[in-house]
């Protein structure tokens, strides 16, 4: 989670007088406030054994929801993944499976 130093989110302001000049949005607040994982009707399940770390899923993920470390896939960000299934569609070794979502986002 990146949040710029000294940045107050607009939702944390106590009155309109604290709004930044020009209504500027303090940077990069979307991931903290919009948990788009609740949109999901299908959940991608990543198989670490099958994965060859080609990063095609990371490259194509519209929601930047594939966690990577040292250019290797480490998991899926279920807080923001909308369950579109593009990752499963582009995976060359079928290491991602889409299963029906039950019980909403975690």
């Amino acid at each position: 989670m990146r949040r710029r130093k000294g940045c107050t989110l607009a939702v944390e302001l106590r009155s309109w007088k604290e709004l930044p000049i020009g209504g500027v949005v303090p940077g990069g607040a979307t991931p903290e406030l919009n948990k788009t994982g609740s949109w999901r009707s299908q959940r991608p399940i990543w198989d670490s054994e099958k994965c060859i770390h080609c990063l095609m899923c990371w490259l194509h993920c519209p929601d930047d929801s594939i966690f990577i470390k040292d250019q290797k896939v480490t998991g899926i960000d279920y807080e923001h993944c909308k369950g579109c299934g593009v990752c499963a569609a582009v995976c060359p070794v079928d290491a991602i499976e889409m299963v029906p979502e039950r019980g909403g986002a975690r």
């Binding site: 607009a10 788009t36 095609m56 490259l59 519209p62 909308k82 593009v86 569609a89």
Partner: protein, 316 residues
């Protein structure tokens, strides 16, 4: 040339420049393009974004998905805005107030480029500002509910060109914006697709090496407007490339080069069939005639393109 590992390394080092949590539709191709473009550029970036899906969905107040300086402009003037920012930057460099290299990128949809923003774009191209213009071409006004634009292909069903018993979808042919930009004699123009993101990264890297206006027209699938499955963004764009409906090519200082030639050129039906917006074409005689005409137009444009490549590459 950047590989996917290099792009991943850059994002890991400096954090994501376009984060998740935006409200673009599930499976939208636009964020894939935006992330690839911003990851490819190593220098600091300033982005101007015309009104459209990308702008509306990525910056719902009080949130923003952008971790780079970003300006929202009206529908028609993304090019004029980025030109102004670039002029201000040049003035500050002249006065010795900035010494870093900064890149300027404009993102706009096909409505904001082909139709409404064409005049501002043409002006900025002619004045020769140093910026990269990325067209997110999803072939209609998706943000307001799939109205036809001048990028919409002939025969497509849109809310302002509905398919009925008399008229089979949009009656007019699409406009060739890439060629309009080529006619401005700018240093670099290219066509790319969301199905070939590494090809797009290569084009971005090549483009920013040139001083002056550059444009890349990127084919961006819209599962909602084209009525295709949510996970089909890459597949449909790939079919557009393999049928040669959307050829991938670049024009570098007037020299054409086709960057991807499909081993086997697929018939246009392969691309039309999976899309709900063309479903009516397969149900009537008139529709079938239109498909034949579309195929003829695609073949003609592809041959033309190959000929341009031969003519301009000849002398090296």
């Amino acid at each position: 040339m950047p590989s996917v590992k290099v792009l991943a390394q850059r994002q890991e080092q400096r954090g994501s420049r376009f984060t998740g949590g935006h409200s673009l539709c599930s499976g939208c191709a636009e964020p894939m393009i935006v992330r690839t473009v911003l990851n490819t550029i190593e220098d600091p970036v300033v982005v101007a974004n015309a009104t459209g899906c990308l702008e509306v969905a990525s910056t719902r107040y009080p949130t923003s998905a952008w971790n780079v300086p970003w300006i929202h402009t009206a529908f028609e003037n993304a090019a004029a805005t980025i030109a102004g920012v670039e002029a201000a930057y040049k003035a500050l460099v002249r006065k010795g107030k900035i010494d870093r290299k900064i890149r300027f990128v404009a993102f706009a949809g096909d409505g904001g480029t082909y139709d409404i923003g064409l005049q501002a774009l043409s002006g900025a191209l002619e004045r020769g500002h140093d910026f990269l213009y990325i067209v997110l071409n999803n072939e209609a006004y998706m943000n307001t509910g799939v109205q036809r634009s001048s990028a919409t292909p002939r025969g497509a069903n849109a809310t302002t060109s509905p398919a009925g018993s008399v008229i089979p979808g949009k009656p007019e042919d699409r406009k060739d914006l890439t060629e309009i930009v080529v006619a401005h004699r700018v240093p670099y123009v290219a066509q790319a697709s969301v199905s070939n993101l590494i090809d797009l990264a290569n084009k971005v890297e090549k483009a920013i090496k040139y001083e002056g206006p550059k444009l890349i027209n990127v084919y961006s699938t819209c599962p909602l407007g084209w009525r295709t499955p949510w996970d089909s963004a890459v597949k449909i764009a790939k079919l557009a490339v393999d049928t040669c409906y959307w050829p991938l090519y670049e024009v570098e200082e007037g020299r054409y080069r086709v960057t991807y030639k499909p081993k086997e050129k697929l018939p246009i039906e392969e691309w039309l069939k999976p899309q709900g917006r063309f479903r009516h074409l397969f149900k009537s005689e008139k529709g079938k005639e239109l498909i034949a005409e579309l195929q003829e137009a695609v073949d003609r444009h592809w041959e033309e393109l190959l000929m341009k490549e031969r003519c301009t590459q000849g002398e090296g």
